[in-house]
């Protein structure tokens, strides 16, 4: 059993380790090690295409994580207050949203948005004042952020709900017993106590969005995110530069995941 587990881990992590190792390769071929060097990191960070893609990725990740955290928290708090079939229906939908494969979300968002845009664009053009160029809705940063937000919101709802459920109901009751309005209770008691969970949700969302290739591939339009850039470069062969990018992305993601995990653990203890 233990040997089996070790094999599984080796199978999972050896390729990742190899990528990290080869990113420090002094030679230009991905297949043979020729001494240690960090020059590929420098090269990657000086490549304007990489930096462009990174900027797009960061913006998308930040915006969708922010929207997902805000709307997800609002949804979680609201869901806490309702019971019965409505609640059950929402619970189900939220879990479905998390479990649906990225490719389905990608295709569905693409088809949905394209259909809507096709309907709306002539309408906008028809009401736009003559002589001005009417704006045209198209796939791009906006659709990318929307698609990510939708999927990540469900994730935030689940994380925040778990924290809310672990919070003693008597705390909010005590607050209103001490004359705080519902808004005051939310601001002074609920929010501070669930904040670690929200932050963890934000970090996880950021990581998911930053790393996502599948959904972005469908809805990014002409935008290039970092995973999309890596994907298209690989078609020209794996270079140490790609390895360096991959290693950096992995490092940042890992750091965020660990931070999120720590936030969830620490905050969990405090509300008990």
């Amino acid at each position: 059993m233990r040997i089996y587990a070790i094999c599984v881990y080796l199978f999972l992590y050896i390729p990742i380790g190899v990528i990290a190792l080869f990113s420090f390769n002094a030679g230009r071929h991905a297949s043979q090690l020729q001494g240690f060097s960090t020059k590929w990191y420098g090269k990657a960070l000086n490549n304007p295409f990489v930096m462009d893609a990174l900027e797009t990725s960061l913006m998308v990740a930040f915006a969708s994580a922010l929207f997902a955290s805000v709307f997800g928290t609002m949804a979680a708090v609201a869901l806490q207050g309702i019971k019965g079939p409505v609640r059950t229906a929402f619970d189900l939908l939220i879990y479905v949203a998390v479990m649906i494969p990225g490719i389905v979300i990608g295709i569905a968002t693409l088809i949905g948005l394209v259909t809507v845009f096709d309907q709306l664009n002539p309408l906008i053009a028809s009401i736009w004042p003559n002589g001005f160029e009417p704006p045209k809705l198209r796939m791009g940063m906006g659709s990318l952020i929307a698609a990510h937000t939708m999927f990540l919101m469900a994730l935030v709802v689940i994380i925040v709900r778990a924290r809310l459920a672990g919070m003693d109901r008597a705390l909010t009751e005590a607050s209103s017993d001490l004359y705080a309005t519902p808004m005051g209770t939310f601001r002074q008691v609920t929010l501070p106590l669930i904040f670690p969970a929200i932050l963890a949700g934000f970090l996880l969302s950021f990581t998911f969005s930053f790393d996502d290739f599948i959904i972005a591939f469908f809805v990014a339009g002409s935008e290039t995110t970092l995973p999309i850039y890596v994907f298209s470069s690989i078609r020209r062969g794996v270079t140490p530069e790609i390895n360096a990018i991959g290693t950096m992305v992995m490092g940042v993601s890992l750091l965020m995941l660990i931070t999120a995990q720590m936030l969830l653990r620490r905050g969990g203890k405090k509300t008990k």
């Binding site: 003693d168 008597a170 705390l171 009751e173 005590a174 607050s175 209103s176 017993d177 001490l178 004359y179 705080a180 309005t181 519902p182 005051g184 002074q188 008691v189 501070p192 106590l193 405090k270 509300t271």
Partner: protein, 373 residues
């Protein structure tokens, strides 16, 4: 007589009612948690809800606090119906069972919480001053900057108390505040709570399932059973004149013998016990001939002796308690019962050992005739 709708002594005479329950019921789905509660709470009194777990005490308290809306009836505060008034608008504060202190705030921040919600805002200095004073009252002066989890159970309870009384509420509601404390601390806190209540003149409503606690602290006790109020009265009234076997058994201990009424004359009634014996007793409730009843005799009102009157018993157990000796005795057909013998009479007439044959007798005035349930 039915258990429900007991309205007898629901308010002490000529005192101003600060809160009232009028025919209040509350159901959660199929569960009737509180049923037809009628009660008037007067300013400055210490009232307790006493009953076993699940009898609806917390529900009654939560309707006063504003966390539950009655299904039927009216809740009044200061003469006004407040059924649907939100908790944060009620001049009432609660000490929660697990204290519900805010874990992300210091002791002082917890205590000042209620004052910080006031609009228009109170000056910071004034809040700080009141917090200092509240800390003094609960004897936690050096703990203002502590975190909640750095405080012991007893200290947390005092913080919860300070957090409530600093607002000078019309009613202070306490839901089993001593349940989480150990025995010794509980005794101390009971005394402290009573002192506090006298000192501040705030009306206290306490929920407890501990009869000793209710008896020692309250001006009046409201005995509850399965969502209903079965009797309201001072500790002495409840002890001396319980209106049912349930109350007699809940307030103090008593010996019960069941039977039915055969005759009534003057202040006494004759009861034919189930074992065929006929005894005299004092009616504690309205009686009709043939009615099933239960006789209650307190252990300290029974006399254990060697004379020829009374019922024949054998001593099964003996516990020496200092000023009293408690005997568990057995009668052939009446079964086991408890007798408390004062030390002085034992010194005069001699005590008893396990296995001794003896007789037990009691006055007809000590045998209270009650409803059998």
């Amino acid at each position: 007589m039915e258990n429900g709708g007991y309205v007898g002594d629901s308010s002490p005479a000529n005192k101003k009612a600060i809160a009232e329950l009028r025919g209040v019921s509350k159901s959660f789905g199929d569960v009737l948690a509180a049923s037809d509660l009628n009660l008037s709470i007067s300013a400055g009194e210490f009232l307790s809800f006493l009953g076993p777990s699940g009898c609806g005490k917390t529900t009654a308290l939560r309707m006063l606090a504003g966390f539950e809306t009655p299904t039927e009836g009216e809740v009044l505060l200061d003469g006004e119906v407040v059924n649907t008034l939100d908790a944060h608008h009620r001049p009432v504060n609660m000490v929660f069972q697990q204290y519900a202190l805010f874990p992300h705030m210091t002791v002082a921040q917890n205590i000042g919480y209620g004052l910080r919600q006031r609009r228009p805002r109170l000056p910071k200095a004034q809040i700080a001053e009141k917090v200092t004073k509240a800390l003094e009252i609960v004897r936690l002066s050096d703990f203002e900057d502590r975190k909640i989890w750095e405080m012991s159970g007893g200290q947390q309870q005092r913080v919860a108390l300070a957090r409530a009384i600093i607002n000078e509420p019309k009613l202070l509601l306490l839901d089993e505040p001593m349940a989480a404390l150990d025995r010794k601390l509980r005794k101390e806190m009971q005394i402290e709570l009573q002192d506090l209540q006298r000192q501040l003149g705030i009306t206290f409503v306490l929920v407890t399932h501990d009869q000793e606690e209710a008896l020692s602290m309250s001006d009046r006790i409201c005995i509850m059973r399965e969502g209903r109020i079965v009797q309201i009265g001072s500790p002495q009234e409840l002890y001396d004149r319980p209106n049912s076997r349930y109350v007699a058994g809940f307030v103090g201990t008593s010996n019960f013998f069941s039977g039915n009424v055969t005759d009534q004359n003057g202040g006494l009634a004759t009861i034919l016990l189930d074992n065929g014996m006929s005894v005299q007793g004092t009616p504690g409730v309205e009686l009709a001939e043939g009615q099933d009843v239960c006789i209650s005799v307190r252990p300290e009102q029974m006399k254990l002796h060697r004379q020829s009157d009374g019922v024949k018993v054998e001593v099964h157990n003996r516990i020496f308690l200092g000023e009293h000796t408690e005997y568990l005795v057995n009668h052939e057909t009446l079964g086991d019962f408890l007798v408390l013998s004062p030390r002085q009479s034992e010194l005069n007439e001699g005590g008893f050992e396990v296995g001794d044959q003896a007789r037990v007798s009691w006055d007809a005035s000590a045998a209270l005739i009650l409803n059998p349930n």
